[in-house]
């Protein structure tokens, strides 16, 4: 089984488990595909978490504001209608649990991996870019007409020598 297949299986398993256990939502396995290092411009909420060990990389969750609010509503059993600190925290914790579950799966094959504290970005028309050479494994999960993207980029440590760069191309008001 290739690393890509392992990552796809792990993300599907972790995502369905976290959604059913913590959100009370049954989510279908995601459609998977591979992306190159330059990603499209993002709108909405993007949560990033680092992985480090003999393999290193980044996991992320990207979703529109309505999905972010829905995650918060289900996780905390409260009504969330706007992206605020509570919503961003909920998405960060969702990322922590999903990528943490993937990390635990992959450690059986790749050795011990450390997990960073998640960082969440909310805005419009911003791009994230990795100057490394790796590709992203992406899974799109559909949830009541909107999509949530779970991405993971992993490579042996010597191939990930460069930092990630995040560029905000259009500032906007953020309710936090």
């Amino acid at each position: 089984m290739s690393i890509h297949e392992m990552v796809v299986n792990s993300i599907n398993r972790a995502c369905t488990e976290v959604f059913s256990t913590m959100l009370g939502v049954t989510i279908a396995p995601g459609e998977s595909f591979e992306e190159k290092t330059t990603l499209e411009a993002n709108d909405g909420v993007l949560s990033l978490i680092g992985l480090a060990g003999t393999w290193t990389g980044t996991g992320s969750i990207a979703c529109p504001p309505d999905i972010a609010c829905r995650v918060c509503s289900h996780l905390l059993m409260t009504e969330s209608n706007a992206v605020n600190e509570e919503v961003l925290d909920a998405v960060a914790e969702l990322t922590n649990m999903i990528i943490g579950g993937v990390k635990t799966d992959l450690e059986q094959h790749l050795g011990p991996l450390g997990l960073s504290i998640p960082t969440v970005v909310f805005g419009r028309n911003f791009k994230t870019r990795s100057t490394g050479t790796t590709e992203w494994t992406t899974l799109r999960f559909d949830w009541d007409g909107s999509s949530l993207l779970v991405r993971l980029s992993l490579a042996p440590r010597e191939q990930m020598a460069h930092p990630r760069v995040h560029t905000n191309t259009q500032p906007c008001a953020v309710e936090v």
Partner: protein, 129 residues
């Protein structure tokens, strides 16, 4: 008197969920205190003597393992049971927590039943009226 509980997690979402789950367990629980990291938790312990601590492992400033080591090294605190609530499923950090004296661990994501089962030997059920 019902024992207090201290919840230590950098995620306000998880602290809120644990507050709710703890109240649903049917265990006799007094006040539930919250801390965002190990340093904050140690400050709270100076004025509160909880019957249980639930702590995350991956946290900024002082992580859960550093906090556990500090708690277990201090006379008067070391008998407080500490259960780790963590995304860490690997043996390394969980094993380290057990070696440091953790009473157990629950892996995120968790169900209310898993929390209740883990706490059943530590906290007492609410007595019948």
């Amino acid at each position: 008197m019902e024992p207090d509980v201290l919840v230590v997690d950098d995620s306000a979402a998880i602290r809120k969920i644990l507050q709710r789950v703890l109240r649903q367990t049917g265990m006799a629980i007094g006040t539930i205190h919250e801390a965002g990291d190990g340093e904050e938790a140690l400050e709270i312990l100076k004025s509160v003597q909880p019957g249980l601590v639930l702590s995350d492992i991956n946290m900024p400033k002082m992580d859960g393992l550093q906090f556990l080591a500090a708690l277990k090294s201090k006379e008067g605190w070391r008998q407080i049971p500490v259960v780790m609530i963590t995304t860490e499923g690997g043996e390394t950090k969980v094993g380290e927590a057990v070696r440091l004296g953790a009473a157990g661990y629950v892996r995120k994501p968790f169900t209310a039943d898993q929390i209740k089962e883990k706490l059943s030997g530590i906290l007492e059920p609410v007595p019948p009226l």
